[in-house]
């Protein structure tokens, strides 16, 4: 790994530079100086690298900003048998993710400054992907009293959410949006009306009827989004809807944006790569929250990615162990691991012609970084040298047992995908190399 010269400089040459923020897609190179990007562009070629500076020939691979994943569940503290900050970090860098935001649904809940600092310190010591927390919007995720948002934001919380639960009470949501706006912070919502989703295990429809499982109707998402959009309008708050999964839900977001409200949303790869048929035969690895929806919804998610209604793609990484998944469907925990499949499944959008390569990457880099207010996700001189080298064409088969994540519950188990990360740099250091 010590390819760097004494001055801490390194020249990456012969790369296909991809910078979605500036629209750059050109052969060239990049010079890392210490922890930051010193310069980048087509002018950096082998003959112009100063003598003595170490050179890495990228052999035509794509050099892009490291991915910024805005929704990850890390089970530390509390459920370290499913995932730790370290195993999540290793899994992330193998998937090309250099920065990720974790949900506060740990044990203890991330709802005080000490826990925020614990996560930040542990992540820093691991030196893998940078981990930023969202803090709980309400104390202990109970949906009742607001957390100390101001102090938590000061300590480094990037936003406020009750994690995998929706903020159910409309008055609490109103105050959360209003109070968070005081500090310019956003509220991230799991948009699902809990009373309609209660006991539901999958999308409501013909398939749930045939399988004899309780369904979660599309309206559970639409109703919560409609309500929250009204509250955003009422409060002038900053609202972000996580993992939007339905055509109707996306229409709500589309209208809110047209109205000029401060509303954004993301989705996760399963919602544009899979539909409800993945749960046939009671496959609990495809039991997600929100549930996988119909094919028409899947196509609507792709359309919303293309037209800009959806602002970012997040992995929605949710590690679960065997004991949580090898159960009758209704009893199994929802969620799938996603750090190592985020890039290739997103690139399906490019390979199938739905999005250009830069547009697809943008949803994983500069766009989520901008939502989070992070100075990341760009190939820009002066920025941290958080980079990935990847081959967008390289095909591979998803074999979860090879994942670095402690949990293997991937809904993409056995899928054939394209796009493989070869190297990941964080602050100029190589933290992952496929052929090391």
């Amino acid at each position: 790994m010590s390819v760097r010269g004494a001055e801490g400089q390194l020249a990456l040459i012969n790369a296909r530079l991809l910078d979605p923020a500036s629209g750059l897609d050109v052969m060239g190179g990049l010079i890392v100086d210490g922890e930051v990007i010193a310069s980048v562009g087509p002018h950096i070629v082998k003959s112009r690298v100063p003598d003595g500076m170490p050179v890495l020939d990228c052999q035509g691979l794509c050099l892009a900003p490291g991915l910024v994943d805005m929704r990850v569940q890390i089970r530390e503290p509390g459920e370290e048998h499913k995932e730790t900050l370290r195993s999540a970090g290793e899994s992330a860098v193998a998937g090309g993710i250099t920065a990720m935001v974790c949900l506060p649904n740990t044990d203890p809940v991330i709802d005080d400054v000490a826990t925020v600092e614990f996560v930040a310190r542990r992540a820093r010591l691991n030196g893998l992907a940078k981990i930023y927390p969202y803090a709980a919007a309400t104390k202990n995720l109970e949906g009742k009293e607001l957390s100390e948002m101001g102090m938590l934001a000061e300590a480094g919380a990037l936003g406020f959410t009750d994690g995998t639960q929706a903020i159910r009470n409309a008055m609490v949501m109103r105050r959360a949006l209003s109070y968070a706006a005081t500090f310019g912070a956003m509220i991230i919502q799991h948009p699902e009306e809990p009373s309609l989703a209660e006991g539901g295990a999958m999308n409501s429809g013909e398939l749930s009827t045939r399988m004899g499982l309780s369904g979660i109707p599309v309206a559970a998402e639409t109703i919560m989004l409609e309500r929250d959009v009204r509250l955003t309008e009422l409060t002038g708050g900053r609202y972000h809807a996580a993992h939007v999964s339905t055509a109707e839900g996306l229409d709500v977001i589309r209208k809110a944006k047209a109205k000029g409200l401060n509303v954004t949303c993301d989705t996760a790869p399963p919602y544009f790569a899979l539909n409800e048929l993945a749960v046939v035969d009671y496959r609990t690895f495809a039991k997600l929250s929100p549930p996988l929806r119909s094919e028409a919804d899947r196509l609507a998610v792709i359309e919303a990615l293309a037209d800009g209604t959806i602002d970012a793609i997040a992995s929605d990484h949710a590690p679960q162990d065997q004991d949580s998944k090898r159960l009758p469907f209704a009893q199994a925990e929802p969620g799938g691991v996603g750090l190592e499949t985020l890039l290739p499944v997103t690139l399906e959008l490019y390979h199938r012609g739905h999005l250009g390569l830069l547009s697809a990457l943008s949803l994983l880099t500069d766009k989520p970084a901008a939502l989070l207010g992070l100075n990341a996700g760009r190939l820009k001189a002066g920025n941290a040298a958080d980079l990935i080298l990847f081959d967008p064409e390289r095909g591979w088969k998803v074999e979860p047992e090879k994942f670095r994540s402690k949990s293997k519950n991937s809904p993409f188990d056995g899928h054939l995908v394209q796009g493989l990360v070869e190297r990941t740099f964080i602050d100029g250091r190589v933290v992952f190399s496929r052929h090391a």
Binding site: E206, M211, L213, P217, R326, L327, P328
Partner: protein, 331 residues
């Protein structure tokens, strides 16, 4: 009563056809498999009516009834079926076994594998649980009811009951009335009846009819008066109080008023329409006592009798496809 002649050339000519290791549901079975099971069961009806009811077909075989849900009649029916075929039958009630101590379904499967059983009969409150278990055990599995998913032997015994009375299933109109939402019996019956060429109507309040069930190829009614018109068979479902999460119906009184079967509503069906119920009945809730006990119309007693015969046929057919030795049998 005179028994109608069966005229199926196909069944008269070929051996029973059932190329599966398990019986997990009716979905996926074709007319040939269903007819094979029904024909075989028909033979067992005669055997069960004779003095010597035992046969040694399954001598040496072990059948375990593993019930994670209370049931007296289905379990007894399977127990009787196994014993009449000469198998060793053991009942395991999950409430007294280690399942209550936190043992998972997979652990249970591992334990059962070590016991070298041949057929496992399972009932479980969760849809899909029997399939999950079947993937982990090295014996044949019969689904005796999983959640709101399927209850295939009930559909088979219903079909046998109807066939013996009406001669055939094709062309009949069958109304399934009541709590379809929570009913595995309804789902298995829908698959079976449609596969065999019958027409199926569902009748119930909107809260008890599952979403998009019309896409399965049935007609949905919310009024008994229109739904029962000219039907050949009226199948009543049990109102499953224990499965009701919240308020699906406001009161028993109201339910009986609109959806309980009495002579007045029954009069809209064909004059020779028969009445069925999978049991146990809630008299005065979904069915009027006089109707339930009407010997001319009610086939409820016959259903119980057919249950044993159908389960004998299932055990018989499934064990035919089991290897004769334990060599090479893997989970």
């Amino acid at each position: 009563m005179p028994r109608p002649k069966r005229g199926s050339i196909v069944t008269a000519m070929i051996e029973p056809y059932y190329p599966h290791r398990h019986l997990l549901g009716i979905q996926g079975l074709g007319p040939l498999e269903i007819t094979s099971l029904l024909d075989l069961a028909d033979g067992y009806v005669d055997q069960n009516r004779s003095v010597d009811k035992r046969k040694n077909l399954l001598r040496g075989r072990t059948v375990i009834n593993l019930f994670f849900e209370n049931s007296t009649r289905t379990r007894t029916s399977f127990e009787l079926a196994g014993k009449r075929l000469g198998a060793d039958v053991i009942n395991m009630q999950a409430s007294i076994s280690s399942v209550q101590k936190g043992e998972t379904l997979i652990d249970t499967a591992m334990t059962l594998n070590a016991m070298h059983l041949d057929v496992l009969v399972v009932r479980h409150p969760d849809s899909g649980a029997v399939k999950l278990l079947s993937e982990k055990v090295n014996c044949s599995v019969i689904n005796a009811g999983d959640g709101s998913h399927e209850h295939p032997t009930q559909a088979l015994l219903d079909a046998l009951t109807i066939r013996r009375r009406k001669g055939q299933l094709a062309g009949l109109t069958v109304a399934i009335c009541g709590d379809v939402l929570h009913s595995r019996v309804a789902r298995s019956n829908i698959y079976l009846l449609l596969t065999m060429g019958a027409r199926v109507r569902l009748i119930g309040p909107r809260t008890l009819i599952p979403t998009q069930i019309d896409r399965m190829g049935v007609e949905v009614f919310h009024d008994m008066r229109t739904g029962l018109k000219d039907v050949d068979v009226v199948m009543m479902l049990r109102v499953q109080n224990e499965r009701m999460r919240g308020n699906f119906i406001p009161s028993i009184r109201e339910y009986f008023h609109f959806f309980g079967l009495d002579y007045q509503k029954l009069s809209l069906a064909k004059p020779d329409a028969v009445i069925m119920h999978p049991g146990p009945m809630n008299r005065g809730v979904e069915i009027d006592t006089d109707v339930a006990d009407d010997v001319g119309r009610s086939l409820i007693r016959e259903q119980v009798e057919m249950g044993v015969a159908v389960r004998m046929a299932c055990l018989d057919l499934l064990t035919r496809t089991l290897p004769q030795t334990w060599e090479g049998r893997a989970a």
